[in-house]
Amino acid sequence: MSKIAISCDEPSLDAQVDPRFGRAAGFLIVDPDTMTFTYQENGQAQAMARGAGIQAAETIIRAGARAVLTGYVGPKAFQALSAGGVQIVQDLANLTVRQAVERYKAGDIALAQEPNSQAHGGGGRPGAGMGGGGRGGGGGRWR
């Protein structure tokens, strides 16, 4: 079986699965046959204002993972992981890393077909003007 990445915040099989994919503290890269692992920090992605999910996807692909077990995956991360041929398993945040891997090995999981989190990051408007009539069209003859 090829290597799996699990989002978590410490290098231990007993760590809790980190619900965040893109902004996870790091990933345990586990060989499911031997249960040996390495820990991959995700600081580079965490430091980004936007694009953390894409960055995290690159990180685990370069670490050789062919599947990821995590909580929530956003649309761009999903796209990046899919392009890299990585299987995605979501909604595992209430498990430990070990439990998640055992479930995966037993086939007791569903591969995600679509992202389960909305796009975020990037800030957004701090407070709209009172007018705002132009937003989304509807500005009289100017639209």
Partner: protein, 291 residues
């Protein structure tokens, strides 16, 4: 001179003040709405449209057949807009800031110049004033690239020697800084509430490093409390005008009228504001650099 009307908090009356200043400005003046995410100055100035064009930014387009997966493109990109994922070269167009770095470093010609639509630029005249605005494409996350193009386009519709009043976006992040960075004077519109005072403090901090003269307009004066006044005193930033909290102003606003035109008392206030702003820009003998 160029005046940017900005604020920390949204909904304090930037557009009310900008439209009124344009209305009473004693010299030839152009109007520019740089709140491209939600432009609304046109709703008050009712300009006649002369033209519009779509604005684009250069972004990379992948040609996977030529990619050797060397990662030079993804190494130079600070925004995760281009990635090598296994044996796939992938571009995330909405992440791209348009710097062109990846196009420059790719040794294989595997990235070619493509484009992303940013929105549109619309121009015309509001009375005697040249008018220009940008409007972001729905879904576009970045304002500054479009704002830069709106600013560049201004030179085609307004003579360089006339004054300019800019309606800036709210907040203190990149779009707001981009809107005020070329101004000679920054007018910050606030309201006498705790929220108004807090965000005004953020605006002082964000814009002070630009080293431009700043002044405050307190809108809806008479409501709330005095924290904004104390803040201005502490920061030694003048309160240039106070616009009262008045039903007649709200009614004029709701009807899409320029408040300085519709409410005589406000006209006087804004005329006095215009005189003070002109005085703030009058260069002291040593700093003729402004011109």
């Amino acid at each position: 001179m160029k005046i940017a009307v900005a604020s920390g908090k949204g909904g304090t009356g930037k557009t009310t003040v900008a439209a009124s200043l344009i209305h009473v400005w004693p010299d030839p003046v152009a109007a520019m709405d740089l709140d491209v995410e939600a432009p609304n100055l046109h709703l008050f100035l009712h300009p006649e449209e002369i033209g519009r064009c779509r604005a684009f930014m250069e972004i990379p387009e992948p040609d996977e057949s030529r990619c050797t997966f060397c990662r030079k493109c993804s190494d130079i990109c600070q925004f995760a807009a281009v990635k090598v994922l296994g044996e796939v070269l992938m571009v995330f167009p909405e992440m791209c800031h348009g710097c062109g770095g990846c196009l420059a470093v790719c040794p294989e010609g595997a990235l070619r110049p493509g484009k992303r639509e940013l929105g549109e630029i619309i121009w015309g005249t509001a009375g005697a004033a040249p008018f220009i605005m940008g409007r972001s494409r729905i879904g576009e996350a970045m304002s500054p690239p479009l704002m830069r193009q709106v600013k560049a386009h201004l030179s085609r519709i307004a003579p360089p020697q006339i004054d300019l009043i800019i309606d800036a976006p709210p907040g203190v992040s990149c779009p707001a800084v981009n809107a005020v960075m070329d101004a000679d004077v920054i007018v910050l519109v606030t309201e006498p509430t705790p929220f108004g005072a807090f965000d005004l403090g953020l605006a002082f901090k964000a814009f002070a490093p630009l080293g431009k003269p700043m002044g405050v307009v307190v809108n809806r004066a008479g409501i709330g409390e005095d924290a904004v006044y104390r803040l201005c005193e502490r920061q030694k930033i003048a309160v240039l005008a106070e616009i009262p909290y008045d039903r007649a102003i709200a009614e004029a606003y709701a009807e899409g009228r320029v408040v300085a035109d519709a409410v005589p008392a406000v006209r006087g206030i804004v005329e006095a504001l215009a005189r003070q702003l002109q005085a703030m820009d009058r260069p002291a003998p040593k700093e003729v650099l402004h011109g």
